[in-house]
């Protein structure tokens, strides 16, 4: 990919981003990186993309425990029927689990052995607040509801190389939200808006206007430095995405078609995923990607094989297939998670309320897929959390830790920085191929 011509005012990207990093550095405590971890990401390690399903996705509809009679007893109207080979039933994965039929596009990944599930994962904190639980997930610190940086930002910080120039390197990219908590913190990160807005450079495309605006932000204060860095990365983002769309061989051309297969709020996710992939392709220093989708809080009329949730799951599956296509180097990994699960039983309005444990999904060539990992005890009353919810059998941090060690080379002390006090879970040691 050719880089766009720089406006002379911008100087080079490295220097500008160094300015941004400097801004971040100014916020940090003096000891900031004194204890920085020795494990680092080198250019050969894989990339990680995390897809966060905000609002608590109903994992028991996505990964269907069809062999469990309690599943059908607890969900008389919304359960996904056991696989019988026809379209409106679960797709058989193994003797216990099936896949929601709207996610048929993922079946090949399971068969190729690159898709795995941890069926009862989640946080040790029992909160049923979306907002607390999301914060716990994003900060990597269950139980603390404010005041922490995001673990992916800390990971980007860990990944810095010791050479001074590396401070300028932006390693993490989010497409979609204005400023997700998972990326807040000291390390410089890039955030690109949802949808078509990412490709527009607007009035700043005019040299004259851009020069005049940047003149107002020539100072050395935090806002000015941030503004200049933003102008640089935005022009580059727009240019990269536009040239990718212009290239006929690029997979971007398929996006409109694929997007039409989906519906509902998760639909825009596919476009964001394409933007993420294009930008990470163009900038090899970007190793960490973050996407999110809402619309999962299905308290009422969630449907079964068709309906609200089915539409969202279909869009998600299409996005994951696309992500797998774009992130298929040996050490790349895609992780899907939600802040908690939903009640094992349907409620009085054809939906599900806030629960506890939920499935986490992993896709990657090193993932030992085509099987599930961790512990699953079924939905009998005695096995449920507070008598109603799927329990958490595998801590989400332990799942992430496995992925980070296997694909990002993060050491034990690095993991402890990301997830202070978490316990390594040996029952997940088979999750990744050596």
């Amino acid at each position: 990919m050719q880089h766009p011509k720089h406006h002379p005012r911008f100087g080079d990207r490295r220097r500008l981003l160094a300015g941004l990093a400097g801004l971040a550095g100014a916020w940090a405590a003096p000891t900031a990186f004194a204890q920085a971890d020795r494990s680092r990401v080198d250019a050969q390690t894989g990339r990680m993309v995390l897809v966060l399903l905000r609002g608590a996705c109903d994992g028991l509809s996505a990964l269907v425990p069809y062999a469990d009679p309690d599943y059908y007893a607890r969900r008389p109207t919304i359960a996904i029927p056991a696989p019988d080979g026809t379209a409106q039933t679960a797709l058989r994965l193994d003797a216990q689990f099936g896949l929601h039929p709207a996610m048929a596009a993922l079946l090949p990944l399971w068969q190729q052995g690159v898709l795995a599930f941890i069926p009862a994962a989640g946080s040790p904190d029992p909160t049923r607040s979306h907002f607390d639980a999301q914060y716990h997930f994003e900060s990597g610190i269950p139980g603390r509801s404010s005041g922490n940086s995001g673990w992916m930002n800390r990971l980007a910080g860990l990944s810095r190389q010791e050479a001074d120039a590396s401070l300028s390197t932006v390693r993490a990219l989010a497409v979609g939200e204005a400023n997700p908590a998972i990326l807040s913190g000291d390390a410089a990160v890039q955030r690109v808006p949802r949808g078509q807005a990412a490709i527009r450079s607007g009035a700043l495309a005019s040299d004259r206007a851009r020069a005049a605006v940047l003149d107002l932000y020539a100072g050395d204060d935090a806002l000015s430095r941030s503004f200049r860095a933003g102008a640089q990365s935005r022009m580059q983002t727009a240019e990269t995405l536009r040239s990718a769309m212009a290239a006929p061989t690029n997979a971007m051309a398929t996006e409109t078609q694929a997007a039409d297969n989906g519906a509902g709020p998760a639909r825009g996710l596919l476009l964001d995923a394409r933007h993420l992939a294009t930008l990470m392709q163009a900038e090899p220093a970007l190793r960490l990607g973050f996407l999110s989708a809402g619309g999962w809080d299905t308290h009422a009329n969630q449907g079964h094989t068709r309906g609200l949730l089915a539409n969202n799951l279909g869009s998600l599956a299409a996005t994951l297939v696309q992500l797998r296509q774009d992130f298929s180097r040996p050490d790349d990994v895609i992780i899907v998670a939600s802040e908690f699960g939903r009640t094992s039983a349907e409620n009085g309005t054809g939906g599900t309320d806030h629960g506890h444990g939920n499935a986490m999904w992993l896709i990657g060539s090193r993932v030992r897929g085509g099987r599930w990992h961790g512990q699953w005890d079924g939905l009998a009353s005695g096995n449920l959390h507070e008598g109603r919810d799927l329990p958490v059998r595998n801590d989400y941090r332990a799942v992430l830790a496995q992925a980070l060690r296997a694909t990002q080379g993060v050491s034990a002390s690095g993991l402890d920085t990301l997830f202070p006090g978490f316990a390594w879970d040996r029952s997940l040691d088979a999750l990744f191929r050596a």
């Binding site: 916020w27 940090a28 405590a29 004194a34 204890q35 609002g55 909160t127 049923r128 607040s129 979306h130 907002f131 607390d132 610190i141 509801s145 404010s146 005041g147 922490n148 940086s149 939200e177 204005a178 400023n179 913190g185 000291d186 890039q190 955030r191 808006p193 949802r194 949808g195 807005a197 450079s201 607007g202 009035a203 004259r208 206007a209 005049a212 605006v213 003149d215 107002l216 932000y217 100072g219 204060d221 000015s224 503004f227 933003g230 102008a231 990365s233 935005r234 709020p265 809402g294 619309g295 809080d297 308290h299 409620n347 009085g348 309005t349 939906g351 309320d353 507070e386 920085t417 202070p420």
Partner: protein, 511 residues
């Protein structure tokens, strides 16, 4: 709480204090880096800017003059409390063509019903999406038209301090956001503007429990958090099945609208409150859009936060829900939560515990009188402290730009709705991550700099400012509020860009 395990992670609090200190001392960010110790009082122009940009969305020539005519900006700010209250007791002034969304609820229900009907009866060919903003597109596009009108009214009222009291517009945003509804959930769309007017605006400076009850009974909220279909366990449903509870509203009512997540309730309380509220649902025919269905109400005994419901036989049924909502509204944890949120919106990203305590005390002592709470806030030294800088949200930024430019258009009272600017503004809010009426979850938008000061997003503000101000005369009255450095740089820019550059300047990013 700081993490002992990771001492190199600064606490958010420390980080924000650090930022505050970096910004302190002056309105001018560029000067801030050079300025030594911060003065402890705002200069008169800076105080006027703060009052006009926080109590309202920003100055126009008229309001700038109003402040100048008084002894202090503080006097102007305090005056707005009573003026805003008086305005909130009157119907909003709606320009021609923007009245439909505020029609009585039965006709909004009827419009939505006709749209469903029209869509059912029409063939696919007739379903081609219609274009345009604020065009009446007939019964098939009723919901869309109502939502566009609602958005237009929000922008209109908040950018016309001559038409709508600026503090009332501010608080309409605040309370809508605190009791957020998402336009695209279920059948919410046509009711969003009505909710803004009759819940957020009407009770903006009244008593908090009245605001909360109005929200609880409004179709927008009943639909949004699924309360309209939550009924006693075992109620008859379709196909011989039974229906029952939905916990959604009960949980968010305690977690977000009142007590806060650490407010001391349990999962059992969530269930109890959901049971108390069974039978609260929408009514397409009643003027208030609400009805209580006694046969769908769970009449068994419940225990909420240690209290028995119903209190006695006379207080059974619909009254249980009212009592529960008033109990929650008057709770000390609620007072604290409202105090924190108001202080964050009006004063500082990380408000001082003393201010929060003071606001919470006023809230409790006045039984949730929001005028008293606002007076306490505007009289507090914290509101006027130079160190308490606030960075504009995209909404703040867009509205302040609209206000500044409309002023240049001459006789504002006669100025028609500028559709081009409205469409641009709504598009900007989308791109900036703060789309109007479209925050999906009930927590509402955040207002802090940590959320909105994002490198690429900053440049979109400049982009919007330049586009919005194209061909507009320079809003010269803003000069007073800009730093000498900014003024000098703008004076050297091509004349056609100067209006936009004033709005795109660093000075204009703060409120």
């Amino acid at each position: 709480m700081a993490l002992s395990r990771a001492p190199f992670q600064p606490r958010r609090r420390r980080l924000l204090v650090g930022l505050g200190a970096a910004w302190a001392g002056t309105l001018l960010p560029q000067a801030a880096a050079r300025a030594s110790p911060a003065p402890d009082v705002l200069a008169p122009d800076a105080a006027a800017w703060r009052a006009l940009s926080r109590v309202g969305y920003g100055p126009d020539t008229r309001s700038a003059q109003q402040v100048r005519d008084l002894a202090s900006a503080r006097d102007w700010a305090l005056q707005q409390v009573d003026l805003a209250y008086a305005t909130s007791q009157q119907a909003p002034q709606l320009p021609p063509g923007l009245t439909g969304f505020n029609a009585p609820l039965p006709s909004l229900f009827e419009g939505a019903r006709r749209e469903r009907e029209a869509i059912r009866q029409s063939d696919a060919e007739a379903m081609a999406p219609s274009r345009g903003f604020l065009n009446d597109l007939g019964p098939r596009q009723f919901n869309r038209t109502m939502l566009q009108q609602s958005a237009a009214w929000r922008l209109y009222s908040a950018s016309r301090p001559d038409v709508e009291n600026p503090l009332l517009a501010r608080l309409t945003e605040f309370w809508f956001n605190h009791l957020n509804v998402f336009a695209y959930k279920g059948p919410v769309r046509p009711f969003v503007g009505h909710y803004a007017v009759h819940v957020a605006r009407a009770h903006a400076l009244g008593r908090f429990e009245d605001l909360l009850l109005a929200s609880a009974r409004h179709p927008a909220m009943l639909f949004y958090l699924d309360q309209f279909q939550s009924v006693a366990e075992g109620s008859p449903g379709r196909d011989g099945r039974t229906r029952g509870l939905n916990e959604n509203y009960a949980r968010e009512l305690m977690e977000l609208h009142t007590l806060g997540v650490g407010g001391g309730y349990t999962q059992d309380d969530v269930r109890a409150l959901a049971r108390i509220l069974t039978g609260w649902t929408v009514s397409p025919r009643d003027a208030d859009g609400f009805q209580f269905l006694p046969r769908r109400h769970d009449s068994g005994p419940k225990r909420l936060l240690g209290q028995d419901f119903p209190r006695d036989r006379l207080a059974a049924g619909e009254r249980e829900g009212e009592d529960a909502i008033r109990l929650l509204a008057r709770h000390p944890a609620t007072a604290r939560r409202i105090a924190v949120r108001l202080a964050q919106y009006f004063v500082a990203d990380d408000p001082s515990p003393a201010l929060v305590q003071q606001l919470a005390s006023t809230f409790l002592a006045s039984q949730g009188d929001l005028r008293e709470v606002m007076r306490t806030l505007l009289q507090s030294p914290d509101f006027w402290a130079p160190a308490n800088r606030l960075f504009k949200t995209p909404m703040d930024f867009a509205l302040s730009g609209l206000i500044a430019l409309q002023d240049g258009d001459g006789d504002t009272a006669q100025a028609p709705l500028d559709r081009r600017r409205m469409v641009m503004t709504l598009a900007f809010l989308n791109d900036a991550g703060q789309p109007l009426h479209s925050w999906q979850t009930p927590d509402g938008y955040r207002f802090d700099a940590a959320t909105w000061m994002v490198p690429e997003a900053l440049t979109r503000r400049a982009d919007f400012a330049l586009a919005l101000a194209r061909e507009s005369p320079e809003p010269r009255f803003l000069q007073t509020y800009l730093s000498a450095d900014t003024r000098a740089r703008i004076a050297q820019a091509p004349p056609a860009l100067r209006s936009g550059l004033m709005l795109a300047s660093p000075d204009f990013m703060y409120k």
